[in-house]
């Protein structure tokens, strides 16, 4: 099977270029296995990967135009020649490795932790099964970055728009019955940029390898904001 892989060495190249590799495939082979095979053929080829089972979120790449996790993408699903590029819109460090600092900054900006104003109880803070259920579809995010780097609004304003990943996380804590900073969290999302650059394009929903729905979470935030405003 033929693979076209984006190569970029900042010390040598002006801009990224595509290199062709032939890889012998086997039944059940994942794209990560193919990339490892390419690395065996050319040691200088660089890409991030770790757990190999869609849990760590390290090996997000753009495959035939769609952001996916290489380790859970069967090559049998892909149309040859398979074009593998780094995430769009992020500065390339080398080959498929991109600089995700901006993405992590946006994540940090939504205070991704529980805020308690009451004194901490001796025991754990209890939740009813219904309250716990509200976090399903939110807490599973692995921060792979497939969604935010597929979002046109994040491409145009990555330094001001939080992006789908950070906004999903913002809703994860707004929806948490144990959190006590609703007002502060909503205030921090005001203005035309941080939340409202989302135009419900829904690329995020399409690409999320965990099947999460950031657009829905963003809708919930807007509704809660409206409820608080009138």
């Amino acid at each position: 099977m033929q693979f076209l892989v984006s190569r970029f060495n900042p010390e040598r190249d002006e801009k990224p270029w595509m290199q062709t590799f032939e890889v012998e495939t086997w039944r059940g082979m994942m794209l990560r296995d193919a990339l490892l095979e390419i690395k065996r053929q050319d040691e200088s080829f660089a890409f991030r990967h770790s757990c190999g089972e869609g849990v760590c979120g390290s090996d997000g790449v753009n495959v035939n135009g769609t952001n996916r996790l290489a380790c859970i993408t069967p090559v049998s699903e892909l149309k040859a020649p398979v074009e593998v590029r780094p995430f769009p819109g992020r500065p390339i460090i080398r080959d498929l490795v991109v600089d995700m600092s901006q993405f992590y900054r946006q994540y940090r900006a939504v205070d991704p932790w529980l805020v308690r104003k009451d004194p901490m109880p001796e025991q754990e803070i209890l939740q009813s099964p219904e309250e716990r259920e509200k976090l399903d579809g939110l807490y599973e995010c692995i921060l792979c970055g497939c969604c935010s780097t597929a979002c046109p609004s994040f491409w145009w304003n990555p330094e001001k728009f939080h992006g789908p990943q950070a906004l999903l996380t913002a809703w994860r804590f707004l929806a948490d019955s144990r959190d006590q900073a609703e007002q502060e969290r909503l205030d921090a999302l005001e203005g035309p940029y941080r939340l409202f650059r989302c135009h419900t394009i829904m690329n995020c929903v399409e690409v999320c390898p965990k099947g999460l729905n950031p657009t829905k979470a963003i809708g919930h935030i807007k509704q809660l904001m409206l409820k608080n405003a009138i």
Binding site: W156, N157, E190, L226, A229
Partner: protein, 113 residues
């Protein structure tokens, strides 16, 4: 809502105006299909009636606000240089205000004699 509420305010405004624009367009379309005016005199009389004139004015206002939010969104997304964005926003604001005033003038003319 505070000055900083420009995100939420714009978003709600865009949705609320969209509902009115949709409903009025539907009503106007049905009016034109079911009881189309035969001539210019009838056409003018249609807009001279107070309910229609008011509904039309609200419709125009809704269109202007809706367009303003939409165009502002596009400019915020794509036009980064400050002076270019400011100039374009000003130009579009002027065009929209001109459209609104023109509609007002037409409706006033329709009611005269």
């Amino acid at each position: 809502m505070s000055r900083t509420a420009s995100g939420l305010k714009a978003w709600v405004l865009q949705r609320a105006t969209a509902v009115y624009i949709g409903l009025f367009s539907l009503y106007f379309l049905l009016q034109m299909l079911l009881a189309p005016p035969d001539d210019w005199v009838q056409w003018r009389a249609l807009f001279a009636a107070t309910p229609m004139a008011v509904a039309m004015l609200v419709f125009m206002l809704a269109i202007l606000l809706h367009a303003w939010v939409g165009v502002r969104d596009v400019l915020i997304d794509y036009v980064k240089p400050f002076w270019l964005r400011l100039s374009l926003l000003t130009l579009i604001a002027l065009i929209l205000v001109a459209c609104g005033l023109w509609t007002l003038q037409l409706l006033i003319l329709a009611r005269l004699n």
